[in-house]
Amino acid sequence: MSRVEIRFAGFGGQGIGLMGRLVGEAVSLLEEGKNSVMTQSYGPESRGGASSTDVVIDEGEIDYPKATELDYFVALSEEAYHKYIPKLKEGGILFVEEDLVTLDENAKRAKKIFKIPATKIAESLGSRLYANIAMLGYVCANTTDIFSEKSMITIMKQKIKARFVEKNLIAFQKGMEYKTDS
């Protein structure tokens, strides 16, 4: 396996940072022979502003810690989509929250586009806060070189506050099971 770069982006409050942290941690601590580095956009930002987090995964030592050409881009807001879609490499893979992102010409650089109404799924569980985890489930089901279902579930049980674990596990399952029409 060579270097894989993923960016999660949306607006502050969607739990973008948590997505990166969970993925980075699951890979680094639970997946044999793989390393990961997580970095976050860091600025004078607040809830509602743009937020992004990058995870770089490699079997070897990770020299440069930041993303250069994204293999995967996971967009949870329109603003984030427009801001970062040029960073997706030609032939990369795009995941979008379909109710929050309107695709444009730029989406053509993606080899494949996966769309999911993650917020609606989360709302059906009682809170839109689970949208990030539903999206992670969807990413997990449709990729092979990022993280495994098993390590993600283990890390969620360890890292998410006890009273929220169950709902998040359901959100993850719903994301895993979601089938796109396109």
Binding site: R21, G24, E25, S28, L29, N35, S36, V37, M38, T39, Q40, Y42, G43, P44, I62, D63, Y64, P65, K66, T68, A162
Partner: protein, 387 residues
């Protein structure tokens, strides 16, 4: 870690996925730091935050002072009270501390200062990376002294060099700076904390003579005086004025000459013990990159990419920035056609490298002003463009 009630440990043995800031804090705790005095500043605040959580668990003390001037004085005082002490800040805070870092040098007070660098000058770029404080850590305070400054490049090294910074501080009796940067402070990667028995700890030398005959600044043959602290029965004298072996101000040429030579020579004569570098693919290199901190990661990336293209590039990574590895760089200059120095500033280490090569090879700085680290492609392009 489990949420069950547990005995809190100084050494958080195990595998973690964490930031450079937290790793540095854990390193300090692992080597026995029991006092943190500081004033929060981006991008170092997570160190203070973590110490505020952890120190009370371990019977230590955390004080948030009114500013950085009070913070540095507080940790110097704590050190004279007998505990390992530290602070953490960024460029603007370090600027406020420099006067009393000099006081710590003159009074030979062990402690560490972590500077998580951001873009400057002045308040500059609070949330973005920089490497503009290299010269400040060397020349910031007035007068002649030889600082020790260490510069990590990974989360693991933030942990390990926080330990080493304390060890050098205790061994050589001076304030040591751990010079990090925003990228490193905020990025997360794997940190392996070894068993407590594997943490090498150095403690300051204690007097062997009686309180009656003890002279607080009489150095042993290694030029380092044993250190008695307040409450041990020995006289404690702490002054920034030129002082004799008794610690009394003695403002004459002979005393100044003897004291200032000694506090410099105790470091100069031990460069071999202090200077650390990492060499990567330098054996057959025709071109060398000299880099440090988070930029060294990008430099390693560009070495790997250059090698794939058959260009013989190697990396000399500086782990100890001060004292500077003059001899190692001069030796490198004899071997390579050109040395590139990528740094997030407008030319600081580049000048030092130029000084060391004595014109034996060409030196080219790749400067990027504060805000982001070079990417490997940028450095490679520069090398290819000159080829």
């Amino acid at each position: 870690m489990s949420k069950q009630k547990q005995k809190f440990l100084e050494v958080s043995t195990g595998e973690h996925f964490t930031t450079g800031n937290h790793a540095a804090a854990e390193g300090a705790l692992a080597v026995g730091c029991k006092f943190f005095g500081g004033y929060p500043i981006t991008p170092s605040s997570e160190i203070a935050e973590h110490m505020a959580l952890r120190l009370p668990q371990l019977g230590g003390n955390f004080v948030q002072f009114e500013d950085e001037i009070a913070s540095i004085i507080g940790i110097l005082g704590a050190s004279w009270g007998g505990v390992k002490s530290m602070t953490a800040t960024s460029g603007p805070g370090y600027s406020l501390m420099v006067e009393n870092i000099g006081f710590g040098m003159m009074t030979e007070t062990p402690c560490i200062i972590i500077n998580v660098q951001r873009g400057g000058p002045s308040t500059g770029l609070p949330t973005l990376v920089g490497q503009q404080d290299i010269m400040q850590t060397k020349w910031g305070s007035h007068g002649d002294f030889e600082p020790i400054v260490l510069c990590p490049s990974s989360v693991q090294e933030c942990f390990e060099l926080a330990i080493e910074a304390f060890n050098y501080a205790e061994k050589y009796r001076l304030p040591v700076t751990l010079l990090m940067d925003e990228t490193l402070g905020h990025m997360s990667e794997r940190l392996i904390i070894p068993d407590a028995s594997k943490i090498g700890k150095v403690e300051r030398k204690k007097p062997k003579d009686s309180p009656e005959e003890h002279l607080p600044y009489k150095a042993d043959d290694d030029l380092i005086p044993p250190m008695a602290v307040a409450g041990e029965g020995y006289r404690v004298m702490v002054t920034g004025l030129t002082h004799d072996e008794r610690g009394y101000p003695n403002l004459n040429v002979e005393t100044q000459d003897k004291l200032v030579r000694r506090i410099n020579d105790k470091i100069r004569l031990n460069k071999k013990d202090i200077i650390r570098v990492e060499e990567y693919l330098l054996d057959d290199a025709e071109i060398a990159i000299i880099a440090f901190g988070s930029v060294a990661r990008a430099a390693k990336g560009s070495v790997n990419r250059a090698r794939e293209k058959g260009i013989k590039v190697g990396l000399l990574r500086l782990i100890t920035i001060w004292p500077f590895p003059d001899e190692r760089i001069e030796a490198l200059a004899e071997k390579v056609k050109k040395i590139y120095v990528p740094e997030i500033n407008y030319g600081q280490i580049t000048r030092e490298v130029e000084r060391c090569v004595h014109g034996k090879t060409e030196v080219k700085g790749i400067f990027k002003l504060g805000g982001s680290i070079h990417n490997p492609q940028e450095i490679l392009k520069e090398i290819e463009g000159d080829a």
